[in-house]
């Protein structure tokens, strides 16, 4: 079964490179190519591709805004962000807007293809470079985190401070810090944002839970 795609990127050279990557895959069918955000959104509305590969920074609408429109209009389109930036906050913003994946443009053709297939299936794909991990096969699973740790992580993801989490769970701030440290350690994260991204990546928490 082939996958219908559109590609939106304002840089002609990278767009050509990506098109070359995609052309190699028999089951990918690129039905639209755009160099700015507004025409990309128009194409998405008209063609309703399964997957939209969106650059974050483009003239006109940016990728995150297009993703938000897709979600608002409930279009049957999966947004996969394709960018040059490895800022974790971009990943979080994209996910909050409704994107199902985040791939760096410097990724290999294989990585890109895999990401497209995963999101087309309804999965979530996060580039290994943005969540600092060594890729150890698709099904690498971390040390399981406890239910309490999961609760702490979800609250922290909502932007609550250590003190606020402590008062909500009726535990001491110190315990919250201990839980967080344990989460970081188990997931291999170095900070809160990374722990959230890794938890998503490993399926420890669901995107919907995290972003509620």
């Amino acid at each position: 079964m082939s996958i219908n795609l559109i590609l939106a990127d304002d840089h002609p050279l990278t767009r050509a490179g990506l098109m070359a990557y995609l052309a190699k895959e028999q089951d990918f069918n690129v039905i639209g190519e755009y160099s700015d955000g507004d025409s990309a959104l128009a194409g998405i509305r008209e063609l309703k591709p399964q997957v939209a590969l969106l650059d974050i920074r483009m003239p006109g609408l940016d990728g995150v805004s297009i993703t938000r429109k897709i979600k608002e209009e409930a279009l049957p389109v999966v947004a996969l962000m394709l960018t040059s930036y490895d800022a974790q906050q971009y990943v979080l913003s994209s996910l909050r807007a409704g994107a199902r994946g985040y791939v760096l443009k410097s990724s290999s053709a294989d990585t890109l293809s895999r990401a497209i297939r995963i999101v087309a299936r309804g999965g979530l794909y996060l580039d290994s470079e943005v969540a600092n991990t060594v890729e150890e096969g698709e099904n690498m699973s971390p040390e399981p985190i406890s239910a309490r740790e999961r609760e702490v992580l979800l609250l922290a993801a909502k932007g609550l401070s250590g003190k606020e989490i402590a008062s909500q769970l009726f535990i001491s701030e110190r315990t919250v810090q201990t839980h967080l440290a344990s989460i970081y350690d188990k997931l291999g994260a170095r900070n809160k944002t990374e722990s959230m991204l890794l938890a998503l990546k490993y399926g420890v928490v669901m995107l919907e839970e995290l972003l509620d």
Binding site: I56, R57, S84, Y85, D86, A87, Q88, Q89, Y90, L92, S93, S106, G159, S161, R190, N191, K192, T193, E194
Partner: protein
């Protein structure tokens, strides 16, 4: 020029009435004087002639010159004869002009200064400190003389006043007004005109207003002093502005140099290496393995390039700033924490909606403050707090546990002059968005930077 001619007409209209009145009063005074002179001369002539004719008709004069008063009157005539209100004196002289008889006033005058008394015509003479209108008439065939005089010193005040006072008073008032107008010109109007001319032609910011050499009145002098100070402040401001512009240009050049060097040392070298690897990969005598190895290397180099370029973009103007302050600060502090190996605790009110300029300012301040804390304070922990305070303002606090420094040693402007722009940059960013920056630090007690936006 229109204003100047207006000034001229105003002055003229103030000056004309006193001058006119002065001239009239002077003419009046002159004619009054003349009238009084001719009247008193006439009076003295008539009076003396009458006495002479009285004497002619038989006033007894002895041979040795003794005078006998046959009518039993006029003895001891040391009082002036009072006819109407004019004090009149007379005396009898012999042929040689020696005093025989008469009032003591005249006797003194005649014996002491022997004045040349005109015959038949009264004239004014000054003698022994007195002024007389005086004449003499002969009688007894010229053997004797009758002298008649009025003394001006004895004319009662009111009489003289009634004649001379009013014109004199009016003349002096007019003179005084004219004098005042001249004084007004010299001390007020001229200095103001000078000031106006100087101020309008002054090259502000380059030269001070020159000193006024004349004698201006206090208010004008104060205005002048103030303007001199303003002109000096203008020079100072212009100087500071030039220094700031200079600094701005320097900063810009420094930044350009740094960016240029970064691109040159990083991406440019990488891409050069990349081209070399591609060339190597295309060598015709390559084995398939050689080609693969070169391409692998080329890919690695390309990855490095991308990373360096991202780092450069982040350094210049992080694209993720557009996500808003909360996420931008999270990204920044997480990066800095990894980069410097310090713990950064970020506490912020995520509901704050801040404009782009405020976001950028706070972002840069946090960036600078954390760098300072690590570099200069060798801090291990940094606490960043962004919240709305009780007054409704927004407060950004960056506290560290580093060495701290003594803020009293120097202020940010001095630091800037010494090339340390960090603190003054933070201060200027706060000022630009309408806030203030407070730096609280003591040596050995950590540093606290607080930005307050009302």
């Amino acid at each position: 020029m229109k204003r100047d001619s207006q000034l001229f007409y105003i002055t003229l209209s103030v000056l004309l009435p006193p001058i006119g009145i002065f001239l009239l009063a002077a003419a009046d005074l002159f004619y009054s004087q003349k009238n009084v002179d001719s009247f008193s001369a006439l009076y003295v002539e008539h009076f003396t002639e009458n006495i002479a004719s009285m004497m002619e008709s038989g006033a007894p004069i002895s041979a040795d010159g003794e005078f006998y008063d046959s009518h039993e009157r006029g003895t001891g005539m040391d009082q002036p004869l009072i006819f109407s209100r004019v004090p009149t004196f007379f005396a009898i002289l012999n042929q040689e002009g020696e005093f025989l008889f008469g009032s003591d006033r005249l006797r003194n005058v005649i014996e002491e200064s022997e004045p040349d008394i005109p015959v038949g015509i009264a004239r004014e003479i000054a003698s022994a400190g007195e002024r007389f209108t005086i004449t003499k008439f002969p009688y007894k065939r010229g053997n004797y003389w009758v002298v008649g005089a009025i003394s001006w010193s004895d004319i009662p005040g009111s009489t003289a006043m009634s004649i001379f006072m009013w014109p004199a008073l009016i003349a002096s008032i007019s003179l005084w007004s004219a004098f005042s107008v001249v004084k007004l010109w010299r001390r007020v109007i001229n200095p103001i005109r000078w000031l106006e001319q100087k101020v309008s032609s002054l090259h502000w910011g380059h030269e001070p207003l020159s000193a006024y050499m004349g004698n201006a009145n206090t208010q004008v002098r104060k205005i002048h002093e103030t303007l001199v100070r303003v002109s000096q402040i203008a020079i100072k401001t212009a100087k500071t502005n030039r220094a700031c512009m200079n600094d701005l240009v320097n900063v810009q050049e420094d930044e350009r140099t740094k960016i240029s060097r970064d691109i040159h040392d990083g991406p440019l070298q990488d891409v050069t290496a990349l081209i070399q690897r591609i060339h190597l990969a295309r060598r015709p005598d390559n084995s398939e393995e050689d080609t693969k190895r070169e391409l692998d290397l080329a890919e690695k180099i390309a990855f490095t390039t991308v990373k360096e370029m991202r780092a450069l973009c982040d350094f210049l103007n992080p694209p993720w700033l557009e996500l808003g302050l909360s996420q931008a600060l999270t990204e920044l502090t997480e990066r800095q924490s990894l980069q410097y190996g310090v713990k950064i605790f970020l506490g912020m009110d995520e509901t704050l909606a801040l404009s782009d300029s405020v976001t950028l300012a706070f972002f840069r301040i946090v960036q600078e403050a954390v760098t300072n804390s690590v570099r200069h304070g060798e801090a291990r922990n940094i606490w960043i707090d962004l919240k709305r305070n009780d007054d409704g303002g927004i407060e950004l606090t960056i506290q560290d546990d580093g060495h701290g420094f003594d803020m009293s040693e120097s202020d940010t402007a001095d630091l800037r002059a010494e090339g340390h722009r960090g603190l003054s940059n933070m201060e200027e960013r706060m000022t630009l968005i309408g806030g203030q920056l407070k730096i609280i630090s003591y040596r050995g007690e950590g540093a606290c930077i607080r930005g307050l936006l009302p």
